[in-house]
Symmetry: C2
Subunit: 258 residues, 2 copies
């Protein structure tokens, strides 16, 4: 089985054009088959402010009314995605931008209203890798933004970490999949105020303990839940840390194990 | 040789959500291989106004500074393109959205400054159909917005009619290509004030006469120049008219012949 790297990058890279250019130059040179998932960073909020559209974020999740969905579609699938693709082409990496609607790759279900109406937010229901596999086999690198669709014509805002883990799981039958969550920290920290207190390995057992001890806090919980979901669905290797971990052999980061 | 339909739609369909939905429902059912190119309509100007970004259109062409390029990338590649793709998926047409950067399909050159600086506007230099052909062979329909790139990392605003003719020409070695320009008129009119004065056939000879006689006016010249460029580069069939000509056997429209 060939190896496929599924790499998620977040706001710390997207929001900093120099960091993004530097990341993409190195990403383009990564050997083997690969797929990138990018978050949206602060640009959607900036555009909403410029357009006088109210921004409503609850517990880190964006409440997505119709106007906000338009904004994130424009920013994520338009501005960010196409600029990433153009920069990768300049670095001889043949990339194609994707939302979950493209190639019908990710179908999601509008989140039901319970305590809170998240609006046009979708939870992933089905991933189809057939078309993506054809592209990967032809040395093309798919670049995913965090937008999916319900297969009834409606686009939906979907968490980028979840898109990365679901794509990784979807490919696990065809590839030896490695899933990399790149963010602003070197890894999962034992002490949030100490950037060097990286926990090098977490497994299902130690994860439970870390939660009980209050070491893994709210911000990290959804990301790590995505990790353990993926590791239990045959994803081969999962790493969390700064993007340097992709390009350097002596970076410190967190590895998630079963 | 198989037939490929390259279809361009303009503002009269894009700007009217009912017309767009109706068009896409019928487009999804069109048999055989097909590719759609869409213009941007009025949405980019609307967003620019909402963002207080000045709009500068000279002779029907948008002067594209960096901020305007961001706006058209967001509107064309984001909002319009992804909503078209999602609606096609809902109609069981497996579509993937493209800019010229995606798959390195259309490389253009920033227009040199002569009398006027058009800004980030690109004239098509090279079309690569390899990746698109793989997708078409797998029953996937590419949906192109009017954005290209210079292969050095810069996105460029490019005329949608030109994108359609250049793609049609690019595919002419592999397919029997039919190029359809769908717009708000039934075809090229002998009398602009009479919607029923459609000229049913125009060839290179009668085209010259129509220009000399002042019957073909400025607005139609670029579109028809694209048509004659394509017909001289082995595109098999070119039609200009309302989108009905695609779905009805008794529509009136203009056919361009060599």
């Amino acid at each position: 089985m060939e190896t496929l790297k599924v790499i998620k990058i977040g706001g710390n890279i997207i929001d900093d054009s120099q960091a993004l250019t530097s990341f993409l130059t190195q990403f383009a040179q990564l050997e083997g088959q690969k797929l990138l998932v990018h978050g949206g960073g602060k640009l959607a909020t900036q555009l909403a402010n410029q357009m006088n559209v109210p921004v409503n974020i609850n517990n880190g999740r964006r409440i997505t009314d119709a106007e906000t969905l338009d904004i994130i579609t424009m920013v994520y699938a338009g501005k960010i995605n196409k600029n990433i693709v153009a920069q990768l082409q300049a670095n001889s990496c043949n990339a194609i931008g994707f939302s979950g609607a493209d190639g019908n790759t990710i179908v999601s279900k509008k989140r039901p209203i319970k305590h809170l109406d998240y609006g046009f937010v979708g939870d992933v229901k089905q991933v189809s890798t057939n078309t993506l596999k054809i592209l990967l086999d032809n040395d093309i690198t798919p670049i995913f933004c965090a937008i999916t669709h319900d297969n009834k014509g409606q686009l939906l805002n979907t968490n980028a970490d979840t898109i990365a883990s679901e794509l990784a799981i979807g490919f696990a039958k065809d590839f030896k999949v490695e899933l990399y969550y790149c963010f602003e920290k070197k890894g999962v920290l034992k002490d949030v105020s100490d950037d060097n207190s990286v926990i090098k390995n977490i497994n299902t057992q130690t994860y439970k303990t870390l939660i009980t001890e209050g070491i893994i806090t709210e911000g990290m919980l959804p990301k790590l839940n995505n990790c353990f979901h993926a590791i239990n669905k045959k994803v081969n290797k999962i790493c969390v840390g700064k993007s340097e971990l992709l390009f350097s052999t002596n970076a410190t980061y967190t590895t998630i194990k079963k």
